[in-house]
Amino acid sequence: MIVGQQKPFDEIWEMVKGFKKVLVYGCNTCVAICHAGGGKEAEILTSLLRMKAAQEGVDLQVDHAAIERHCEPEFFEPLDEKVRTYDLVLSTACGVGVNFLADRLGGSMPVYPGINTTFYGGVPEAGFFVELCGGCGNCVLHLTGGICPIVRCSKSLMNGPCGGTNNGKCEVSNETDCAWFLIVERMKKLGTLEKLYEVQPPRDWSTGTHGGPRRVSLEHIRAYEEQEEKNAATEGRR
């Protein structure tokens, strides 16, 4: 799940204060689950902005809305027209949603981010989120006992811990477990410790964010969609 956190209010205010009519636009998927940018948080932020505007004596209209997901076009459609009546969309979706909507609006109006998109994480308990995957595009979890060295090791080391490992904790912070300590312990339990003797070669980071924007294209599904379109066209001709 994508985890985000609302930006500091002052930062948001700096973005918003010059506009006259602002829509706070929430996304009811990942960022709602992490209590950062769903419909509820959009409403809270709206209220705070209205009050700030009143305090500052700025004439500002702020409304809020939310849709199921900010990363697929169909969800936006019912609100498109209304959205265009605003001067600014303050999106509380993740960065994906902000990009997506900004592309969709094609420069007709600005879309600003209300939250910082933080990481891909799990929710081990209510209100607690931890980063567990770096989205590197080249998964090695089968080699590391299911523990990701890319994000759970502060240095993203691939061949065992550094000298900063300290009784199972990381030198960066003693609240952080040393991922390589966890990996060794886990692989002992799994009985696969010998796998660690295999030296991992220098990593090819091009599958990650270092190789330019990534795409996934599922041809079988796209083909199906193309066929549908063709059929519709044929039927239309009849």
């Binding site: 009811n28 709602a32 689950i33 209590h35 419909g39 509820k40 929710v123 308990e125 209510a126």
Partner: protein, 1016 residues
């Protein structure tokens, strides 16, 4: 049962005494099909607990906990409360008693009195308040305390000016003040004759009058107070409004001393028993006092710290470490007042014998319990036997049964005990009565016939607003006409009127009439608090055919007129605001249907020890099928290794008898050698699959998983045959083993208890040691017994045996946890070295036998069972009950109950009482064909839900769950309507009925609209 016996039993019960134990029994019985008559000496029910400020070890406010119970008992259709009443005779036999009750004149007609209190304000006669322990004042016409139930004043005939005038001409001010005409100076009282199937005695106890011990100075030195006086001092509603101050000069005391065992554990001028609660309440009072005023330095003078209950030792440790409470092991011999200052000089001997005089600002005497002055006559009236101290006589195997068939006892009249144990016995006695009167359950209860409900869906709101004067209680401060006028034009309001007393019978009829005439579909009454009156008015509108949730109560008395006296203009403005808020909410109200669910009338009990078997027999006698699940191949549990109780009863005989009864009972099925594999469901509808594959459907579950004994590793145990446990010694003694002359038994207490990581008292070990010590001394006085102990915790009436052991020559040597005894073996000789604090030097004892008093642990299965039923356990692994004071056998999730050692260490009599309590609580559920779900619950909109699990994780009742399709769903039967789910849900998928967001927002808007000049 024969037809004859069915026809002779009565389905009603008399409860004598309306304290917390009596109330618990009354509510359990009335909720499960029995008519209850409650007789109470005082003008209000409540007993001792209502006088307390807070309760240990959680620091909960006593009144906040007990008040809803009092209101519930007071309003219950099947509980008749007779106050200022005493039983004068009891005739007949079990199943059909005839009881005569004498009611003293109240001089206030309870049918007419609305509880407004106008009379009290006008009464000119001030007297010392017995409720505030003479530290405050009340009037001659009074209510015992503000939250009294019934909420009807009474006139104290000994103080009233009019009643003391032979011509009845003086004063009469209260009569003039009462708009309801409820004052009746000619009241003569009356007599009642009741026919009941069973009688429960819960008269409570009196407190020792510490003035007897003149050397301590109560009544002589002003700044010496009794502990119950100190409770009132701490209470925010007490004489000093919660400010800790000295009676003599209102100075805030710095050094405060508590003196323990005043009137307890003392054969001279006092009582020999231990009162069981004083160590803990002194600890509590010192903590609370310090919370009120951080400058207070508390010292507790004590003989032995008896923190034997669940989590009590941890509480005492907190008092020491976090609140700097000083515990001084010493008896104070005399208290003198320092002339001129009001300070107090305490004389005591330190443990090593030095004489010390220490100055304190204030002293609290921790007074103990004792039977009421008329206890002998009381027992005679009911024809029951007492023990030598005039407590009701019971057996440890049947702790709530008196000597007379059909008459039961609960609470401290059976022996000193604290609140949870009293509540346990209350439910336990209810369970016993349910079993005894099973076949006449439901025969004498009153049921209300209601007209069909009018369908108002789709109708525009037509709100009727009734603004109450409450005599002059509201109208002397709030201008009622102005309120009426201001509300008239509010949207949705169809009708507004005023009324003198909305709650009086004639006005109730008027409201019902108006609903029909004006075709109202919602009602707002502006009067007093919903906490006491909402249910009454809800019933009123329901009787007029409206759904009861189409009602709102605007509190303009407690929260307006009463606290803004003399500020009529602003108070009126506020009242208008409060009523407008109610109207705004009412406009959005919708009829709510209370769902009902069927109940499978069977119970599953996990654990076949004494707790499980006792609960099973009681429930089976009530007529419900019971399944006992025992993982061992045979019934019995831990008690299989116990031979005698402290008072010498044969435990094995008792166990054999129980096992026989269980095996013979046609309603009980015993499943041995199996465990629970899977469980599912909710109150009334559980399904459990056992490891042998059998499936059981049942409506309630009792977890009686029991405990195990700690297996010691310390003090050479297991390394030499002469180091044994008390249980092993008990076995040898039971098998006739005879202690040799001159042989020395050294016993070490608290082995594996009361120190980290097991910082709790196992409760049974002191008694085990003393029982075995007595047995040794009785068999051979020439054998020696030395008990090395930390605190001897022979609480309650068990203290007798401590004394007996000392009289027989058993030697007690105290040790401290920092200086634990050292045990060595040289050859065949065991040497125990320990520090003697009296001699102030080390003792070296040679022991022929070293006996270890090992503690208790929860049974290992507790963890698994707890996880399966999603019930929490405390840090020591014991099940955590719903509330440590008032719900000691319930779990937060309904339909689940706990009994026995799985809950906490306890003795056999306490286990039996808790098992009976579990059977009583389960009986309440199983006796219903259907259970009604409250209307005020959270509604879950699945189409909005994102299954983020926030609700699932925070709900204290486990009502959100992950459904078969893998998404979150909501079980409304388990929901208690707290709305935590609604507060946390990021999708706003939850709304609480009648507290919906739109309703709350409408109230906020209304609250602001009514303050013109503030907004816009």
């Amino acid at each position: 049962m024969s037809v004859l016996s069915q026809s002779t039993k009565r389905g009603s019960v008399l409860i004598v005494g309306g304290g917390i134990g009596g109330m618990q029994a009354a509510l359990d019985l009335a909720d499960s099909g029995f008519k209850v008559h409650m007789v109470q000496r005082d003008p209000s029910i409540g007993g001792t607990m209502v006088m307390l400020d807070k309760t240990f070890p959680t620091g909960d406010c006593a009144m906040c906990m007990i008040s809803p119970k009092m209101v519930e008992a007071g309003r219950h259709l099947n509980v008749d409360i007779h106050t200022l009443a005493e039983v004068t005779s009891v005739d007949g036999d079990a199943g059909d008693f005839t009881v005569r009750v004498k009611l003293a004149p109240r001089y206030v007609d309870a049918d007419k009195c609305t509880g407004c209190g106008d009379c009290e304000l006008k009464c000119p006669k001030k007297v010392l308040s017995e409720f505030d322990q003479n530290l405050g004042q009340r009037k001659a016409v009074y209510s015992l305390f503000p939250q009294a139930v019934p909420n009807t004043r009474a006139i104290d005939a000994s103080q009233c000016l009019c009643l003391n005038d032979p011509d009845r001409k003086r004063c009469r001010l209260c009569e003039k003040a009462c708009k309801a005409g409820a004052i009746n100076y000619n009241d003569k009282g009356r007599e009642l004759e009741l026919h009941v199937g069973s009688i429960i005695l819960s008269p409570g106890l009196d407190r020792y009058d510490a003035r007897v011990r003149q050397e301590l100075g109560l009544g002589r030195w002003k700044n010496v107070v009794s502990s119950i006086q100190f409770e009132r001092i701490l209470s925010a509603s007490g004489p000093y409004k919660g400010v800790v101050q000295r009676p003599s000069d209102q100075k805030h005391p710095k050094k405060v001393a508590w003196i323990q065992c005043v009137g307890s554990r003392d054969n001279h001028n006092a009582n020999p028993w231990c009162s069981s609660v004083c160590c803990m309440y002194a600890t509590k009072q010192s903590i609370i006092a310090k919370e009120h005023d951080k400058n207070i330095e508390p010292t507790i003078f004590f003989m032995e710290m008896r923190a034997f209950g669940k989590d009590f030792d941890k509480y005492v440790e907190r008092a020491k470490n976090e609140y700097d409470v000083r515990y001084q092991r010493a008896m104070v011999s005399a208290i003198r007042e320092e002339p001129g200052t009001g300070d107090l000089l305490l004389k005591y001997a330190s443990e090593d014998g030095r004489l010390i005089t220490e100055k304190f600002d204030m002293v609290v005497l921790s007074v103990g319990f004792q039977p009421h002055g008329d206890a002998e006559q009381f027992a005679k009236t009911f024809g029951i036997e007492t023990n030598e101290y005039l407590f009701a006589k019971t057996s440890p195997f049947a702790p709530v049964k008196t000597s007379r068939e059909g008459i039961f006892v609960t609470g401290i009249y059976q022996g000193p005990k604290d609140i949870p144990e009293t509540v346990m016995q209350g439910s336990g006695v209810a369970g016993s009565v349910m079993a005894m009167l099973a076949e006449v359950r439901g025969t004498e209860i009153v049921k209300k016939e209601l007209p069909p409900e009018k369908d108002v869906t789709g109708e525009e709101p037509r709100i009727g607003v009734f603004v109450c004067h409450c005599g002059t209680n509201i109208s002397s401060t709030v201008n009622i006409d102005e309120v009426v006028n201001a509300v008239k034009d509010q949207p949705g309001v169809a009708y507004v009127t005023n009324t003198i007393y909305a709650c009086a019978q004639d006005n109730q009829d008027m409201i019902k009439q108006t609903i029909k005439e004006q075709n109202l579909n919602r009602v707002v009454i502006a009067s007093c608090t919903p906490r006491t009156h909402e249910k009454l008015f809800q019933e009123t509108i329901r009787e007029a055919g409206l759904n009861k949730y189409l009602f709102d109560l605007a509190d303009i008395r407690e929260q307006c007129s009463w606290c803004h006296k003399g500020q009529n203009e602003v108070a009126t403005k506020k009242a208008i605001g409060i009523v407008k808020m109610s109207v705004a909410k009412s406009r959005l109200q919708e009829p709510l249907q209370s769902e009902t669910v069927g109940v499978t009338p069977a119970c599953l009990i996990i654990g076949g020890g004494i707790a499980g078997m006792t609960a099973a027999l009681s429930l089976a006698d009530q007529g419900f099928p019971v399944h006992i699940i025992e993982k061992d191949p045979e019934l019995g549990g831990l008690i299989k290794h116990v031979y005698r109780t402290l008072d010498g009863l044969d435990v094995q005989e008792f166990l054999k008898d129980r096992i026989g009864a269980v095996n013979e009972h046609p309603k009980i099925t015993v499943h041995t050698g199996v465990e629970v594999k899977k469980t599912d469901g909710f109150v009334g509808n559980f399904k459990t699959i056992l490891t042998d594959g059998s499936a059981i459907e049942h409506g309630a579950i009792i977890l009686a998983t029991g405990g195990v004994e700690y297996q010691p590793t310390e003090y050479l145990y297991g390394q030499t045959p002469n180091v044994i446990t008390q249980r092993q010694l008990e076995k040898t003694l039971a098998e006739g083993g005879s202690p040799g002359t001159g042989k020395r038994y050294v016993m070490i207490q608290c082995v594996g208890s009361r120190e980290e990581p097991n910082q709790y008292c196992s409760r049974i070990c002191c008694q085990d040691a003393i029982r075995n010590a007595i047995a040794i001394k009785e068999r051979n006085p020439a054998a020696e017994v030395i008990i090395v102990y930390r605190d001897v915790r022979t609480y309650g009436l068990r203290e007798d045996y401590y004394k007996k052991a000392r009289d027989l020559g058993v030697i007690f040597v105290r040790y401290d946890v920092d200086k634990k005894p050292q045990v060595e073996q040289t050859g065949s000789v065991i040497q125990v070295r320990t520090w003697d604090y009296m001699l102030d030097r080390e003792l070296s004892l040679t022991a022929d036998w070293l006996v270890l008093s090992t503690g208790l642990r929860p049974h290992p299965t507790t963890e698994h069972v707890g996880a399966m039923y999603k019930v929490t356990r405390n840090p020591d692994g014991y099940f955590l009950e719903a509330h440590v004071k008032l719900r000691p056998v319930d779990f937060p999730s309904e339909g689940l109950f706990v009994a026995g050692l799985g809950h906490a260490p306890k003795n056999i009599d306490e286990t039996v009482a808790q098992a009976l309590a579990a059977s009583g609580r389960a009986g309440v559920i199983l006796s219903h064909e259907h259970l009604a779900v409250s209307g005020i619950i959270a509604k879950h909109k699945r189409e909005l839900c994102m299954s983020c699990l926030s609700c699932f994780r925070v709900c204290p009742f486990g009502s959100p769950y992950i459904a078969e399709d893998g998404k979150v769903s909501h079980n409304e039967v388990k929901c208690m309507g707290c709305g935590i789910c609604a507060g946390i849900c990021p999708a706003k998928a939850f709304q609480v009925n009648n507290f919906r967001d739109d309703q709350i927002l409408a109230m906020i808007d209304a609250a602001v609209e009514s303050e013109p000049g503030v907004v816009n």
